[in-house]
Amino acid sequence: MPLVSVPKLTFAQKLKRFFMIDLLKGLGVTLKFNVGALTDKDAVAGKGIYTEQYPKVRPDVAPRFHGAPRLNMDPETHETLCIACNLCALACPEDCIDVIPMDVEVVVAGKPRRKKVLDEFIFDTSRCMFCALCQEACPTYCLELTQDFELATYSRAGFVWNREMLEQGRETVKYEA
């Protein structure tokens, strides 16, 4: 069994220990913070405060944040931007996206044609790891990970978002500050 070897103290170190220099130095630093917290007039305005009063004060989330998914719509026509190309589903490492297309009859230049459009879009947020590979794969900037970060639900089924939820978004309760 190896013995625990502790090096011997020099005289100067012993003297420092006797007068508790080591402890007083550390206490000096902590005291500085205590006095600073009491005298800082800007403390209420958030200067030097690293905690947030969530949910009354909501955090300022970065624009690039990978949060809840959303299917964007054309701002003028309010039609979905999704062209049902299935690239997001192919890019997803966790295989949590299902794009279900349907064929519709359209008239292009006077001739009837079949066109593939989006019927249903299933996004399983319980398996999503928010890597944003689907967002990068989307050619029409339709699928986007937004700044919304509150994703908790009461049931497992609630994690599976359909097209309506992805387009409208979820209602979040906002508390007054």
């Binding site: 625990v4 090096p7 220990r17 130095k25 690039r64 990978h66 890019a91 997803c92 490492p93």
Partner: protein
């Protein structure tokens, strides 16, 4: 009359000098789901055994069924404290296998952000290690500084912890608008803050008596076990992959590799504190010389490395993290093997702990700086 024989020589648990104690897996000081089976003589550890695997997710097997682009976010989940460093190993391995020429700007931004990640990882280590030993104040201070780094990560990558930071051939986005300003403000603050930590800890008699002479390992033993990173350098072995095999922009920056003398917990603490200062130096130089230009190389649509195998490793915050990759020329790797620093470092636990008290086991687990997500994979 018949005499009744009373068994007085029967051995019970109480008679045995050796007691077996299970520490974990739900123990706050084992830094995750690690179970340590301790054999104790009184309070002294005479033998121990580690039980790992509670967090096994089969990462290496999952990787065999994913394309090269899809594997990157899984690397963040190995060592989740240092997701940016882990991601760098993966993309650099694939890039070097394919012979991609990554732009200089991408290399510099990678260097800055991996060094910020090293500081964040060491700050978390410092906070939890100090908390295990009994200094609660340091935890709050360390998390305050770490928060600033995580804010930079959130603005740059869109996530705070599992960032999915890099893509093969470069970066998903260029740096955000206030990136330089944010990084400069952080490295301006951190020097004074590190001095504050050292004032509170380095000479404190409780800290000294809990760390000096605890968990001593010689340089030769450390090499034999396969330690890497600060745990190896604490024993005085000058081995740093940033110096030995420079990757990213480390060949262009000037920094020192701090070394310990005695190889005890206190020396490993000093090495990590000095490493944070050196990281600050590296970030300062990289942000001053940040070149302009694109951040992405020309990458083919389908990433298919040539047939063969390749090993690449970088100096992560915990030690050498490497990736051994075997490609069969398809879109998915044939085999991906992670060289985990924490797994190797954990092997030293038995050697370090024997002869110490139970309370010192907590300090030694802390000083090895292990993350179970990477050990179990």
């Amino acid at each position: 009359m018949h005499q009744v024989e009373i068994a007085t020589t029967q051995q019970t648990v109480l008679d045995s000098p050796v007691m077996t104690l299970n520490m974990g897996p739900q123990h706050p000081s084992t830094h995750g789901v690690l179970r340590v089976i301790l054999k104790l003589d009184g309070e002294t550890v005479i033998d121990l055994d580690c039980d790992i695997g509670y967090l096994h997710r089969g990462m290496e097997k999952i990787a065999e069924n994913r394309t090269y682009t899809m594997i990157a976010p899984y690397w963040d989940r190995l060592d989740y404290i240092a997701a940016v460093s882990n991601g760098l190993v993966w993309v650099e391995t694939v890039e070097q296998m394919m012979g991609l020429d990554v732009p200089r700007r991408a290399h510099y931004i990678r260097t800055i952000l991996t060094e910020l990640n090293r500081i964040a990882s060491h700050l978390l280590w410092l906070g939890t290690h100090a908390l295990d030993i009994g200094a609660v104040t340091i935890l709050l201070w360390a998390f305050r500084e770490r928060e600033e780094i995580l804010k930079i990560f959130e603005r740059q990558f869109g996530a705070r912890l599992t960032c999915h930071a890099w893509r093969v051939g470069g970066m998903p986005n260029d740096s955000y608008d206030d990136f330089e300003q944010d990084v400069r403000r952080f490295i301006g603050n951190i020097a004074g803050r590190l001095d504050e930590y050292e004032t509170v800890l380095s000479e404190n008699r409780i800290w000294l008596s809990r760390t000096v002479g605890v968990g001593v390992i010689s340089g030769a033993d450390a090499i034999a076990i396969g330690l890497s990173g600060p745990a190896l350098r604490g024993s005085g072995v000058a081995w740093d992959i940033r110096k030995a095999r420079p990757y990213a922009a480390y060949a262009d920056v000037d920094f020192d590799v701090p070394l310990g003398d005695n190889g005890d917990t206190y020396d490993r603490y000093l090495v990590r504190m000095e490493e944070m200062r050196q990281s600050r130096r590296i970030i300062q130089q990289a942000i001053d010389n940040l070149p302009d230009g694109p951040v992405n190389a020309k990458v083919p649509k389908l990433i298919k490395p040539p047939i063969g195998d390749y090993y690449h490793s970088i100096e992560g915050p915990k030690g050498e993290i490497g990736c051994y990759l075997v490609s069969d020329g398809t879109q998915q790797p044939w085999r991906m093997r992670v060289r985990p620093p924490c797994f190797m470092n954990l092997q030293a636990l038995k050697k370090l702990c024997i002869g110490h008290l139970v309370a010192d086991v907590v300090a030694i687990i802390g000083t090895l700086d292990i993350v179970l997500g990477e050990i179990d994979r």
